[in-house]
Amino acid sequence: MDIDLLTNVFYAMVRTGTPLLLVALGEMVCEKSGVLNLGQEGMMLFGAVIGFMVAFSTGHLWLGVLLAMLAGILLSLLFALVAVHLNANQVACGLALTIFGVGLSSFVGASWVGKPLEGFSPIAIPLLSQIPGIGKMLFAQDALVYLSFVLFALVAWIVLRSRIGLIIQAVGENPNAASAMGLSVLRVRTLAVMFGGAMAGLAGGYLSLAYTPMWAENMTAGRGWIALALVVFASWRVFRVLLGAYLFGLASILHLVAQGIGVTLPANLMAMLPYVATIVVLVLLSRDTIRTRLYAPVSLGQPWKAGH
């Protein structure tokens, strides 16, 4: 494999991993607070379609990004209302959110399918982008990828260093104790769910405004679900989310590598790869139940009501 191919593979790996990174970071924060939101796919799709529609009709890409995030937040609030405040089963609510998001985005975007849009284009940083191998990967990406780097640093700081991180972790581990301490469990969880919604919306916007600037039904193709597996893979640790997102990105572009070294397989079989990889990773990581239990937020998935 020559260096040009490697450079391009690295570049594509980060591009492909970016939406996964964004969603997984949001979901990780959400799960750390004790809420399992399986609705990532729905929020991503709604973000993607709203972002595309806004950018297409106004011509402002960043306005599209902003509204994509708001769209994600809007759906996440629906989830928060039913799953966090009304104590409904989180698994069922997450499924409902995905089904709703898929339906809503297809409905809203029905007449926008296939329209062309000039999306975010790469901005190469002089000199740095010339570094062999990794230069193009880190310094010749589009603005949203750079934004994902910043957001990653922000989330890492919040989770590892800040008091907010402590509070989120406390609420996710023992909501009764957190409440007895005077922390508002419902508020923390609602905000965490909203953050997850914003990140999922942004990831959707990235898909429809930068990755493949267009709108198509179900264009997320299961990325929201893969991100959920990613959080398990990362054992709820922020640096492993980064690593995992790019590894999955790599798995999704293996056909590029295969073509590069002269192997061709049917497209549909190649398309299975990320899903198969997800299952393999789940199997490898879930074998040790003790390990999962050590890292998983203790109250994950359990509804909580004040006055317990």
Partner: protein, 372 residues
């Protein structure tokens, strides 16, 4: 908010039955508002969606055609959900059922014996069971979360199906269309009457309905499944074997989804095409919840869901509304249902004080396994 929630001493059985009705009404209301906002006449749209499709006998036949796969999938899912095994994979299991049945059917096109049909249907059922069995194996041996594995298996199944219709199963005389050859007459499900597309598959469905009812409501196995779903520790303490129950519910729900799939290709479609299912397996999730995981509730809910699919097609043709309106309604009704279900365990009270204090909910904190 001027209302507060107060826990009930006992869950309300009335609300248990009323909640889906309430959710349906709320969906209709919000749907009307949405159509109003889009500048459509809400009454006209709702008429097209829910009433027009049933105006003649043919329409009712078509309703049954769509009910069949949804009902079969949902009955299986409900059994799994009773055990809190979140099988999201009915869609994939349905596709594999269709694929497996088709793979056999295109190789016995010339067979004239009725056994052809029996073999094809059995293969489809086994295919679906195998696909769900994969998830059961991953869960019982590796503790892999079944939500994620079944959803991944859906995507894999879809790509496998696409690969097959574009490759190995493509009709060599089909002008390069991604479709299999038409099945032989002997491996087609007979229709109920000549002018309808409904097949004898509805008899399968009725049989399955009763069998699942007996299993879920009357048998000790059904009781064990229910206990496993409500309280894993109690199940373990009594000695109900979790792994065995996980295998049973997943194999049954996979087999039923496989049956649904193979009934589609041997019934109304007659060959393998890329669009075997317009999301029946996902719709079945909503149906299972809407039917309260009870077989007869699911029958009603699947009729409603089939009507939405049928109405969606009508609305697309006559009103130029996107087909996605079906998916939108599915999501809305499920959301409303989950919200209304709060009233099973809580009652609404006018607020007396500015601060609400809620006593512990009845058994709301189940110790669930984390998403492992």
């Amino acid at each position: 908010m001027l209302l507060s929630l107060e826990p009930r001493a006992q869950p309300s059985r009335l609300m248990m039955l009323l909640s889906p009705v309430l959710a349906g009404l709320l969906t209709l209301i919000s749907g009307s508002m949405l159509f109003g906002l889009l500048g459509r006449d809400p009454l006209q749209v709702l008429h097209t969606l829910l009433i027009a499709p049933l105006s003649d006998l043919y329409g009712i036949g078509e309703l049954l055609v769509k009910t069949l796969p949804i009902l079969l999938c949902a009955l299986g899912l409900a059994l799994a959900y009773r055990a809190r095994i979140w099988n999201i994979g009915a869609e994939g299991q349905l596709l594999i059922g269709a694929l497996a049945g088709s793979a056999l059917a295109v190789n016995i096109i010339d067979m004239e014996s009725r056994w052809a049909l029996v073999m094809v249907v059995t293969t489809g059922v086994l295919g679906g069971a195998l696909w769900a069995g994969l998830a059961a194996w991953l869960r019982t041996h590796f503790h892999a979360n079944e939500i994620l594995t079944t959803i991944m298996l859906n995507y894999i199944a879809l790509n496998l199906l696409l690969y097959c219709v574009h490759g190995p199963l493509k009709d060599p005389e089909g002008y390069n269309f991604p479709e299999s050859a038409l099945f032989g007459e002997a491996s087609r499900l007979p229709t109920l009457s000549d002018d309808m597309r409904v097949t004898i598959g509805v008899y399968f469905a009725l049989f399955v309905l009763v069998a699942i009812w007996v299993l879920a409501q009357k048998s000790f196995l059904g009781f064990q499944i229910k206990v496993l779903g409500l309280d894993r520790r109690a199940a373990g303490f009594v000695g109900f074997r979790e792994k065995r129950l996980v295998w049973i519910v997943l194999l049954i729900s996979g087999a039923l989804a496989g049956l649904a799939g193979v009934c589609e290709v041997t019934g109304p479609i007659g060959q393998l095409v890329p669009q075997v299912s317009p999301g029946y397996g996902y719709a079945a999730i909503t149906v299972a919840f809407l039917g309260r995981l009870h077989p007869f509730g699911i029958l009603l809910a699947s009729l409603l869901m089939a009507l939405l699919y049928l109405g969606g097609e009508t609305a697309q043709m006559s009103l130029n509304l996107p087909m996605a309106v079906t998916g939108l309604f599915q999501g809305m009704i499920l959301f409303f249902l989950l919200a209304c279900d709060v009233l099973i365990v809580y009652r609404l009270r006018g607020k007396k004080r500015p601060r609400s204090i809620m006593a512990r909910s009845t058994g709301a904190v189940l110790h669930q396994a984390p998403a492992d």
